[in-house]
Amino acid sequence: MPLILSLAWRNLWRHQRRTWLTIAAMALCNCILIFMISLQAGSYITMLNNNLAVFSGHLQVQHSRYLDDPKPRFSVDNGIELAAELRKLPTVAAAAARGVNFALLSSTTRSKAMQVVGVEAQFEDSVSTIPGTLVAGQYLSEKTPYGLVIGRRSASHLKVDIGSEITLLGSGQNGAFAASILTVVGIVDSGLEELDRSTVFIQLTDFQDIFSYQRQVSHIAIRSPSLFMVNQTQDAVVRATQNNSSLNTLDWDTLVPGLKQAILSDIASALFIYTVLIIVVIFSVLNNQLMAVLERRKEYGILLSLGVAHRRLIGLLFAETALLALLGLALGLLVGSLINGYFATHGVYFAGMEQMAEKFNLPSRIHPMMHPITTLAGPLLVFVGSLLAAAYPALKLNNLHPVTARHGL
């Protein structure tokens, strides 16, 4: 071991209790950071995946004016054929065309204005989790002409069940009158209350017929193989649709801008807490090292008188701080990862947070994300901060004069 390290190591243990207390402070802070950051990352990923998987998809191909002005006349021509083409692209995991419009739905006793979504029955389950949340009946298919799938909450609001008839009244493309009688074939429970209250699903071909869309659709929802591959998928889709200038390929951030901002604002408040935690720990390290310098003034005086350069002593101080911070880092990583590992398998349960979970479509148990970045980011900051904290004691040391220091001044 180099001399400087063995000296630093011995210096560190001259005050065992003090050293352990500072290491414990660092380790605790690291544990909190590792756990919190991983938990946050885990919940964001879950939140994004769950929310995008329900309905919107990772990407949507729309008419370029539809996003700002969602009117029937801004539709995608030959959408079903286009969806079939996009489905063949290697970076597209799934694609399905949809029509979206509003209509008044009436059962025998109740009426409600709702969003009507026309779906490609055989592909919808590849871009949306809703078909999989069927609680009664069956999902739409060729065998269910003019069938309708409705959310559990809306079904009870309209007082309908499987087999009930629902009258649809609305206006279609170019102000055409839209009217139809549909039969409830399935009831779903998507988990998103708002969607469940406001949306019903019919077959896309029925939708085109009822709302006079001919061969048009409102958008094509696309799923990328993973959240981290959305950009590649988007590039591929843009290339595939570039000869049609009226089309736009929008990513989830544009489609659901609230989602990313909600996450960012949550990150901002969390960062604030982390910063304060780290500052508090850095102050502990600063105090620790300042004490070490102040109580060794006589010893430094002697060393300086013997001809040891200031920079050697400062190097020693930084080596000591680095060892201290390294111990805090190692201990924090060890304990933090153990805690994380436990919760990554068992999940964290938030008592009384069911409402929150429902609002953001999260499971009641959240699993922290184990990733080198989420694990190391916090502890590394603490490590760097601790080294920076040694700057002030180092400055004090630099100002020591061999003669006065020997007298403890």
Partner: protein, 410 residues
């Protein structure tokens, strides 16, 4: 030597001891101040956000206390109705605890212009009872608010755009009447408003209660009694009185209306306490370290004091007093810093770049911190309480040094 050391002496010694190592004390006080200030600031922001979410939630249908027919909140349909208040209820509503009250109807509807169709929510209210006071969060930008006998509607600017129509034109409102049949009426757009939240601007339509009652064939019936109490203290009493008078209704305070928000409000105190305790524990290591160092470097001196006849209790008192002064200085500075920051931001922070994210959680894009004395006391009490608890062991150990050993320690 008397068994009691005068407080003045204890404090004087503690004060001087604290400043024997000025830098160390200042660093510790600084760490305490930063932690306390940050906690107080964060708590005020969290409270502000939650408060704002509750307010936004009520913006369309305000009221400190709201009475709904039971079942309505789960299934907002015209099938659930209340008669206009009379008898005992009317007596309470006209009593001293109530500032003003009114009845409303709120139903879902389909809104059709000559070009477009949209889903929306019709709110029928009595302009003579709450015009100009209840809905002052939405600003009329064109036309006028209805009178009691008006047949027209006031719609949001965003909805106006979506429907591609304009002030003075007619739209068709379609909903379900109280017989279960489809009711539709044509109504003239007599006013256009802007709201802070785009989602409500696109959805909510205001009209006079009698016109809506006529449309729904439901004269004299309402779905909501909104009550504005004479003060926050009257609210709980009022709520209980009404529950006793009207057993088969939902009587809820503004903070209970949204299950998500009321759950958040309920867990807020717990979240705050956990935050402060976690922050303090991180701080505690540094605090204990400082104290141990302070005692360690004074072992000889403590030995001398004991040899001169000071009781262990006195030594403990001096060390506890020193901790106390350190903690008090820290929290005083922390409180002052948090107070200054919150005062500076009292008008709110503009966060319009994150508007959609805030809309998603149901908050307006401007965040006004909400300061509660309760949070200040809680935060300070936890820091001082746990801080003194941390110093007990070092103080006890210092007090129980053997004078001889302590004197000859090198």
């Amino acid at each position: 030597m008397s068994a009691k050391l005068p407080v003045k002496v204890i404090m004087a010694m503690a004060w001087r001891n604290l400043w024997r190592n000025r830098e160390r004390s200042i660093i510790m006080i600084g760490a305490l101040a930063i932690a306390v200030a940050a906690m107080l600031f964060l708590i005020a922001m969290m409270r502000g956000l939650l408060n704002d979410m509750s307010q936004q939630n009520l913006r369309a249908l305000p009221g400190d206390l709201q009475i709904h027919p039971s079942g309505y909140l789960d299934d907002p349909s015209i099938d659930y109705r209340l008669p206009w208040p009379e008898g005992d209820l009317l007596a309470i509503l006209n009593g001293p605890l109530v500032k003003r009250w009114s009845g409303r109807i709120s139903v879902g509807a389909m809104i059709t212009s000559e070009r477009e169709a949209q889903g929306g929510q019709l709110i029928g209210y009595l302009p003579s009872r709450e015009g100009g006071s209840s809905f002052n969060e939405v600003a009329l930008i064109n036309g006028q608010w209805p009178e009691d006998d008006s047949q027209g509607v006031v719609i949001g600017a965003a909805l106006l755009d979506k429907l591609e129509t304009q002030l003075g034109k007619r739209i068709v409102l379609t909903s379900q009447d109280s017989n279960g049949d489809i009711a539709d009426i044509g109504a003239r757009i007599m006013g256009v408003y802007r709201a802070e939240m785009k989602a409500s601007e696109e959805r909510i339509i205001y009209m006079a209660l009698p016109a809506l009652q006529n449309m729904l064939i439901s004269p004299q019936h309402i779905q909501q009694i909104a009550i504005f109490s004479s003060g926050p203290n009257a609210l709980h009493t009022l709520q209980q009185q009404i529950i006793d008078t009207l057993p088969n209704t939902d009587v809820q305070r503004w903070d209970q209306l949204n299950s998500y928000l009321s759950a958040m409000l309920d867990s807020m105190d717990a979240i705050i306490t956990v935050l402060i305790v976690v922050m303090f524990i991180t701080l505690a290591f540094g605090l204990v370290n400082t104290l141990i160092m302070a005692i360690f470097e004074r072992v000889k001196e403590i030995g001398l004091m004991l040899a001169l006849g000071l009781r262990p209790l006195h030594i403990g008192q001096i060390i506890l007093a020193e901790t106390c002064v350190l903690l008090l200085l820290g929290i005083a500075m922390g409180n002052a810093a948090a107070g200054a920051a919150l005062f500076y931001l009292r008008e709110g922070i503009d966060l319009s770049s994150m508007a959609e994210g805030f809309a998603m959680i149901g908050a307006a894009p401007s965040l006004t911190p909400q300061f509660l004395w309760r949070d200040l006391w809680l935060c300070n009490a936890i820091v001082v309480g746990l801080g003194l608890a941390c110093s007990l062991l070092p103080a006890w150990r210092a007090a129980h040094y053997s004078p001889i050993e302590a004197l000859y320690r090198d």
